[in-house]
Symmetry: C2
Subunit: 762 residues, 2 copies
């Protein structure tokens, strides 16, 4: 979205005269229009509405702040809703300043949600968010569509919006999408939408503002291989597999063509190759992104050509004012057909119809009220998510820190985030009923003396003066990245490291909670007197409580890294503007993500526990598989696409790889079983490994075992060639369990190459 | 100062237990100490206090948050006060949340103050600020020293703190210093200080955070010539001439040596060459800058060596916690002498003594109260300053925009700053009693229909729909620079230009008010349908009123550019890290400031009026002067330094150049008479020209004239050689009046070179 800089104040100072209203299908003018006939299909209903519109009215309905049509009783509707990790304020979502409707459940940021590697949790979050969204809709405070999730893979550690995403790995991102979008929309292939989800930002969008390059005018040069294998994979999941209702096109250009007028990505790939052609499958622009095609990309000579290009490419909503201003004159100039405009409106109103916008007040979801918002159950879930997402990066046994029963433990609290509240939420957050900082949470721990270091005091002197038994340092880097602004560095501020190092000289138990964005923790990992290190990211409204529950052992940590933690000098090795994933000796690009970069400070998938957990593969008997046999064994009535077909490592009777996890320690713990694939197959260079399956096991008791069932597919075995085709190659394969690898199972694929997916060429 | 990111919340959440207290010289333990004896000199009183201190106590008194000495009744004292353009919040300045002490007069930012080119105004502002500061001090809400002014010359248009300074020209900066510091301190050579001013940041500090370079670790490589001629000139004014009480050393290093341990800049130049050795002349560090010498500059092996280096270099206050933590062990290690510490404390307490800290309650300034804060007179001054600082950059006659008497004029208001309030203040602002936005001010203009464009509306459509008679677009760029963060670009956002250009297509009177930072206005200047352009910068608490007074002709504009407005591509021609002022074909550096860069979009000193104002020089009869005669004519009992000696262009009877200014138009107006010097003398390359004198004339009536007396000095004629020596050279000289030049007076200097100032070498 466009940032509000300098505008928020103005927006706030204007009186609120707006409400999201349902059309009156009982007594209003529309009651005589078939759009209100629940017996018809959404498409038929939308057609009836569009048939009733004059050209002038149609020309006015393709922007986010839609005026509706008073004559017909079609209310104004603002398409711009936000709900990234809870219902959030937006032009189309209004919170009250106090009392009812003044808050909603505020979950951790997606980067911290993803760290849980817990599919069921992703689903449960989407269910809460969409229920609360329907409550706000019933309260006339929001619409029925939300511009979430943000699923561009987190390519570069400097990206200002990486916190909004489920991380760098496409498999994890796709699992997140499938669960989140499905639960937001009210189930798989729902007959009506609970709410409309919007996958954004299509595509290759992951640069905000870096050394003078801005997202508004950035041209992402991406190879077909990287596009197909990486940047587009989340959108394939959204469009082809999870069937999201709506997609947002992005600010940037892809290989010279702005995303919102890119017939290759929109027509050839999205609507063509992925068949994203359901009646309601509409596209919204990002805010001002149509205008930016004129002002920043200079892609068209006139403003009329610009809006026509977006409409002709299949962009149906303009978040901005270009469409209402210039569509009329573009039409006069013959730059688009009325039938094209009709198609856009049919998609839009099919979407609203399928979300029940024209249904009677007794229709599903209309009974949800304020009582269903931020319920105790929803807030418990927010706490659970936060706990599941916290990652233990280092521990010498200091954690969990359990105060003794017979005396008070003196704990020194230092660092800039000890009383963090709003910061715990990250961006795109709505107001929460309560925000619990670490300091607040600690006040409920018994047998604890708290010593709070003010920011201008030396924590070391205070630790000495107060004879602190242990130290908890909680902080994030001061260089804030955010929407519109990428990081320049990925290192801790030298003064923060200095503070920790001074504390470390005391030789007392020293726990560091790294909050906010990932930066290089080397100095903390390498310092033997830093006892323990946690990464808690943006843990949301109850994030302080979650952190303290982990610290005191009330909950055992089991989160895993959703991204690579890069060494600080990585930013000098590759510019943000270089989109290539593979290492390139010529440019010095050392490779991106754990698949291509082999010098991580902390690896993707890493995470420690409070107990000893070991894994064993239930080794399959087969170690050789014929490609053609694998393909022909697939049941194509069950699986629409060959990459979805199961790979049966133990023969056709068992569709999963079993991994047995044993807790030989003394603390019950969750454990995320992870399976990667590596090997010598397909074109070089070859990725170091790729995540292909995971399962979070819960509460494994000391001395007991649980078994994860990791489902592999033929897609798990595939590679992408330089044209972007997805292919099964003969060769040597290895399944690697856990990070670092605990177990390996080797097998071979024989036979000849099989093209699973032929990628559309430009 | 260090930024508060992530810390402000914490600071605010801690209870306020602190107050700035005077020591009890009547009944407290100090009543028996000579420090309370008003009959002694400040130095003698400080000596008595230091004599009473134990070593341990001394070791604890050199940081900003001084604990005092309870045993002696010496109260805690926080040296960190801020008052850049009005008393402002700081650890040593506490505002209440409402009622008394909840605000102070908030003047425009120094960049907008400087645009007035009005010395008397500078002085009047300092008088108000210091009076209000004494009121806060009497209210136990602030101390007696303030870390203002910020006088690093504004070298690069990207600098995030340029707004805090009086611009790029050393002559203007020096005039600002002389008036501001003198009025803050209570007059020239005062027997006691009204408040202690602190010139910052010493020296060559003007980079915040740019492409990964941070102020904390930046090493400014500066030639002796640039150092002497440019970067150090403001500090020469402070130390040698205006005799500021205190100076702050900066974060950066200068030619490899951190500023706060730089014996060359501190000992050789400041205390040696400029003789800044009054008893109370103390130096404070910038906040954490001593720590940064260890953490970012890696200048020392141990923290003890770091604090000792600063103390030994003559830095007396550590804003930070390094001194209290590591001075004791540094002393044990023999890294400094107790006598050195004594010298620091003598300077600090001489300063406080001279500010009346140990004086009885009936001493001067102790009767100032809350009633003296934000008085109507002070607020009138704030309005006047704002009006005087607004600059007219373009006008086709549309301005002033005076509504007709017989009907209402419909004015469309658009842009992100139409209702700006806090934004008008800029950074380092204290809370104000009221903040008046442009929109608010317009509500008091009669015969006006206001149409306010919401930010998501198309201003062009609204202008058409509402049949607007005229348009006022008020905005600043969205890329905010600030402390810690430099700009990457100096261009308007493309969408802002687009909005103006769309409005311009209507062909109606279109006035643009450019607020905030200077960026390239070419698109607006070159568009014939942009009728008028104003630059109003950061005009302070009544800035909206000031702008509207100018727009409606209640006040005529006469401000002048205090900086060069560079073309947008300037940022690609020279990196911020290149400190060189002179053009360099080898590096591509096109030169810095109007003295060396000849391709400005808007020139330094430029500014239009609502009337026709022409200038004429009272041409002196002499056109040839002998250097040795000029020097020997100087009265060295009156002038301590030869550069201060008057240059008598009309012979020894008249010490100034007279410039007659005639208003041949129909509107009364102020006018700033400007004199530059250029010519063929001294080493090449030669500056294009240099400002040597100015005078603002007031309210020149239509048809009448006024005469400015521009005082030149021998310093006005000087140049600097590669070693930094200031020299009078024989050659051809030209005095240029106004921008662009209206009149020229040519003369020659004969004789041989004369070294006015031999610059200390490293």
């Amino acid at each position: 979205m466009a940032s509000y800089t300098g505008l928020a104040l103005l927006a706030l100072s204007l009186p609120l005269s707006w409400a999201q209203q349902y059309p009156d299908c009982q007594n209003g003018p529309l009651s005589n229009n078939s759009v209100c006939d629940t017996g018809l299909s959404a498409r038929e209903r939308a057609q009836a509405l569009v048939d009733a519109l004059t050209l002038e009215e149609k020309l006015n309905l393709t922007h986010n702040n839609s005026p509706g049509v008073k004559r017909l009783g079609l209310p104004a509707y603002n398409w711009w809703g936000e709900a990234l990790h809870g219902v959030a304020a937006a032009p189309g979502v209004q919170f009250s300043s106090s009392g009812n409707w003044s808050y909603a459940t505020s979950f951790p940021q997606p980067i911290s949600i993803a760290s849980s590697f817990d599919d069921e949790l992703f689903y449960a979050i989407g269910t809460v968010i969409s229920t609360e969204a329907r409550a706000f809709n019933n309260g006339k405070r929001s619409g029925l569509d939300y511009w979430t999730p943000n699923i561009n893979p987190f390519r570069d550690p400097r990206w200002g919006r990486g916190q909004e995403t489920p991380g760098e790995d496409t498999y994890l991102v796709k699992r997140y999408i499938d669960n989140m979008v499905t639960s937001l929309q009210g189930g798989r292939n729902p007959t009506s939408y609970k709410v409309i989800a919007t996958c954004k930002h299509y595509t290759a969008y992951d640069l905000e503002g870096w050394q003078g390059n801005t997202r508004y005018g950035f041209d992402a040069i991406v190879s077909p291989q990287d596009l197909s294998e990486y940047y587009m994979q989340p959108f394939q999941q959204c469009a082809r597999d999870t069937k999201v209702a709506s997609i947002m096109c992005s600010y940037n250009a892809i290989n010279g063509v702005p995303a919102c007028a890119n017939s290759y990505t929109i027509q050839s790939v999205l609507r063509g190759h992925w068949n994203w052609t359901a009646d309601e499958n509409y596209i919204t622009s990002d805010c001002t992104s149509i205008q930016n095609m004129f002002t920043d990309h200079h892609a068209f000579d006139t403003r009329q050509q610009t809006v026509a290009a977006a409409l002709n490419a299949g962009v149906d909503v303009d978040c901005g004012y270009y469409n209402p201003t210039f569509l009329p004159s573009a039409y006069s100039q013959g730059l688009f057909q009325e039938s094209t405009l009709d198609k856009s409106l049919l998609r839009l109103y099919s979407g609203l119809a399928k979300a029940g916008y024209f249904d009677p007040p007794d229709s599903p979801w209309r009974s949800v009220t304020w009582d269903n918002v931020s319920t105790p159950e929803a807030e418990d879930l927010a706490l659970k998510v936060a706990e599941e997402g916290i990652i233990l990066l280092k521990n010498d046994g200091t954690l969990p820190l359990i105060p003794p029963e017979d005396r008070n433990l003196t704990l020194l609290l230092a660092g800039g985030w000890i009383n963090a509240t709003e910061q715990l939420q990250g961006n795109y957050a709505g107001p929460a009923r309560t925000l619990v900082s670490p300091w607040m949470a600690l006040q409920n721990v018994s047998n604890l003396n708290l010593v709070v270091v003010k920011w201008y005091e030396n924590p070391m002197l205070r630790a000495i003066d107060t004879q602190a038994d242990a130290i908890l340092y909680i902080d994030a880097t001061n260089e804030g990245a955010d929407e519109g602004k990428d990081r320049n560095t990925i290192r801790w501020d030298a003064m923060q490291v200095d503070a920790v190092e001074m504390l470390a000289t005391l030789g007392r138990p020293l726990i560091v909670a790294h909050m906010g964005e990932q930066v290089d923790d080397s100095a903390l990992l390498n310092n033997p007197n830093v006892s323990s290190l946690l990464w808690a990211g943006y843990p949301g409204m109850l994030g302080g409580q979650a952190l303290i529950n982990i610290v005191t052992g009330k909950t055992a940590p089991a989160g895993r890294m959703p991204v690579t933690q890069y060494p600080a000098d990585y930013v000098h090795q590759v510019p943000m503007t270089d989109m290539n994933l593979r290492p390139d000796p010529q440019t010095g690009n050392p490779g991106r993500t754990y698949k291509w970069f082999d010098n991580a400070t902390v690896e993707f998938g890493f995470g420690l526990h409070y107990t000893n957990l070991s894994t064993a593969i239930g080794t399959p008997s087969n170690t050789s598989f014929d490609i053609q046999s694998l393909v022909s064994a697939c049941n194509f009535t069950t699986y629409s696409h060959v990459d979805q077909c199961p790979f049966y490592p133990s023969g056709s009777t068992s569709s999963s790889l079993s991994v047995n996890v044993t807790n030989s320690g003394t603390t019950a713990s969750d454990f995320v079983a992870l399976a990667f694939i590596a090997g010598e197959y397909g074109p070089t260079p070859r990725p170091l490994k790729s995540l292909v399956a995971y399962q979070r096991l819960f509460d494994i008791k000391p001395g007991s075992s649980q078994t994860a069932s990791l489902n592999l597919t033929l897609g798990s075995l595939s590679r992408y060639d330089e044209k972007g085709n997805q292919i099964l190659y003969p060769g040597n394969y290895r399944v690697l369990i856990d990070v670092p690898t605990q177990n390996t199972w080797e097998f071979v694929l024989t036979g000849s190459e099989y093209v699973m997916d032929e990628w559309p060429q430009v």
